[in-house]
Symmetry: D2
Subunit: 273 residues, 4 copies
Amino acid sequence: MSDSRKPVCLVIGAGAGIGGNVALRFASEGYHAVLARRSDKAGLDRLIAQIKESGGSASGAIVDASEDGSIEDLVARTEADIGPIDTALYNLGAQIGNRALSDTPHRTFELGWRLGCFGLFRLAHVLLPTMAKRAKTGRHGTLLVTSATAAVRGNAGQHSHAAAMGGRRMLCQTLNAEFGPQGVHVAHIVVDGSVNAPDTLGKLLGDRFEAYKASKGEEGVIDPAALAQTYWNLAQQPRNCWTHEIDVRPWTDVPWWNDNPPPAINTSARKPK
Amino acid sequence: MSDSRKPVCLVIGAGAGIGGNVALRFASEGYHAVLARRSDKAGLDRLIAQIKESGGSASGAIVDASEDGSIEDLVARTEADIGPIDTALYNLGAQIGNRALSDTPHRTFELGWRLGCFGLFRLAHVLLPTMAKRAKTGRHGTLLVTSATAAVRGNAGQHSHAAAMGGRRMLCQTLNAEFGPQGVHVAHIVVDGSVNAPDTLGKLLGDRFEAYKASKGEEGVIDPAALAQTYWNLAQQPRNCWTHEIDVRPWTDVPWWNDNPPPAINTSARKPK
Amino acid sequence: MSDSRKPVCLVIGAGAGIGGNVALRFASEGYHAVLARRSDKAGLDRLIAQIKESGGSASGAIVDASEDGSIEDLVARTEADIGPIDTALYNLGAQIGNRALSDTPHRTFELGWRLGCFGLFRLAHVLLPTMAKRAKTGRHGTLLVTSATAAVRGNAGQHSHAAAMGGRRMLCQTLNAEFGPQGVHVAHIVVDGSVNAPDTLGKLLGDRFEAYKASKGEEGVIDPAALAQTYWNLAQQPRNCWTHEIDVRPWTDVPWWNDNPPPAINTSARKPK
Amino acid sequence: MSDSRKPVCLVIGAGAGIGGNVALRFASEGYHAVLARRSDKAGLDRLIAQIKESGGSASGAIVDASEDGSIEDLVARTEADIGPIDTALYNLGAQIGNRALSDTPHRTFELGWRLGCFGLFRLAHVLLPTMAKRAKTGRHGTLLVTSATAAVRGNAGQHSHAAAMGGRRMLCQTLNAEFGPQGVHVAHIVVDGSVNAPDTLGKLLGDRFEAYKASKGEEGVIDPAALAQTYWNLAQQPRNCWTHEIDVRPWTDVPWWNDNPPPAINTSARKPK
């Protein structure tokens, strides 16, 4: 039975950075964007208003993804009341900065897992079988997962975040292995650089946010609108050409796999490895 | 000094598959496409004619990339006579099928390296410093490299190809490390699946090509036009959001990191790893 | 203040396979082995007796690692009553076989995390600062972590296990980043093959265990005594030459990164990637 | 037909560092060590004398591995005149320091490939089929390959070395895929740190060598004798428990995957990735 309602783009973790921009981008293409975030209703309302002012369709909810049933209810309500979720973006992390192991309480490690990994599992659990069912009728959904460098290497001080992200990355592979052949596109995006996102990075750095961005130089932090374009492109890929993993970073950022600062070229006193 | 000529998209390895489609895609956006391939002038001319018929600008040359100076001359002639190369696609490999070590002569191993790795080094050598210079005036070039699963894992029988691709991938990282911060976008695309490409896969399989594609099912082989779109998207990324590595495959293909065939779910007699 | 008691090798997850054999190996070199497992006191007692009969020193406890405080108490009691833990082996996983997402309840996913990832975090939390302190006086401890292929790639049906193992691997990197420079050796062992372990693989396969081993051929499953030797070797590495990651598999097993079954050499009808 | 001569450990690249120490270690266990190096006959003779003085059996040759036929002749002469090569160590690289692309001539890039990748291919070509044949009678040979961080990531300035090492790593995987199941153990060792090796690192740093080692602190550079022990351990693994890849580094070295210097813990002004 086909659904005549607008397709929905559901964003879990819709701040003014990546999440809000992805919502805006998909809404500009005819999706109804559903924006979910944990707090700051005023900020949420601003994002929704911005989308509507651009001619797009949007709504939102304050949702604590770490709460049992929250993600499940959100998906159920959206499917019932708004429309079929054709694209879902899991945009939550639990990056808390660098803490020594002794300064990482058990509850912090667990919260990192709940938001960074378990929440994605719960979203997939409640949504992917539905997407797979719709895929049989030619309607192929997409699950986009904003991830981090911590998903591919564990830096000092990142116990909770890296464990959560490493788990997330492997979970994305298992989800892809099961649902890719059922017509659901699962993509894991390694954001290997800072994003100009007031609600996450901005909050973490506070006063130092503007100075930080200035210090990164021209085009030195990821513009979330540009990243949203990459997410849109992923969702547009036809089934014969699906990306599972992709990385992004600003041109002046050193990729995670490289020495930083880079070794001096031609005048290196240290033997390169 | 600015250049008023059309920007050039140079494709080294312009068969009717990925190379030809990337040329077509870029030409459709106002580039002049330069198509270089090793043989089959008639096929080359057909591709060029197709681009012109669509309203695009194109030219080409028969070039043996393994010959000393060939890549260098091609770049020099293009820059002098046609226009500034804003995007270069290195689309050569030396996939010869699976051969036992004893059936892989030294000259085969070397040819794989010449085409798969050294040719890319030569292209970068002659082009990237020029792109870096132009970047200072705001003109940011892109080097796209079509790569393979053999770049990330060495399968049995793939001695020459995997060695060449593994070298290619590391070379792309060193090029990115040096030229990314100079404003040149280097991207390594892992094509983890078969492409509907008559001139490469078609040649390798001969009579069995159509049957093979049919056996892969609906949307079971990569449509090179779809892949060209992904390449176009990469070239459009602004500097603050550059991808270095991305993978693609058909939805029904098992990613290289997964067991193939997939283990039976729920009825596995073998302990999963 | 130096400690004249025997150094302790603590094994969390001491079944008759890897855990029991590591305990035996370290005890044979003068360690006091403390064996902890969740159930089967008779089996535990047999392992302890076997070690004592060989002239070694051993004791054990039935411990449910998923219980709050259990790991912490075990470490505290061992340090207080037995001796300094110079080597700890975290040998727990939660491999439950392959289940579709819909057949993976939330509690299963969480239990996988508790045993596979959180338990290791808790062990590190309570032990590594102590090891780091002892390192200042020249006593360098070792944390060995038995891991799985699921730590490096997520196969279909492995949602819980892969998420837990992927998190484990990243956690091992963060622990190594913080404690390596403090003189504590952290090693992550990717066991990429079946181990001849009656208490884990044997239990999973039941009646089919012997037939399975026979089907794998000569030396076709990992002998846990051989693996224990590799663990011993890791613990003996001097500080100037520490391994963080190592893989093992039987000679006839196809490494996880390769196609399995391997492509036919020389007669391949399918284009290799 | 069994061979009553001493088993041979062939070291290609036998300087006073890793190569010489591996030769010494294996000779101490009853092997006849054959040491091959490109120059410095006096140094070679000193190593051979040292082994003999310890009661071991050794001989050597000055061999330019980049010359056609050199590796092949060395293997043939050894097998004919000395004994069966049970362990071969390919210990050559072509690390030349960091050079900009423009300062990396074509011949340098090619030489890196010849020594770093092609030489290994040639050694495998001439030796592995023989090892596979002997494996049928229960004699399982080992191919050890000293590799570098450049095999797993390409740093700025490392064009030649990274391309050669990346190719080497993939080649090791294809060799393992083909010969592992035939009873030949192929191991790729990622040496992710400086080795106290007078003939390679010492030569590169010249006067600064001692100061460099002092600056690395206590146990801050790899002791090649310790690394030789790890190589010995790999060669002793039984077939049911073979390692293909392993990494090593000094305890105070930051693993290649981590940010260096490490981010400040607890007082980070920069958002971690």
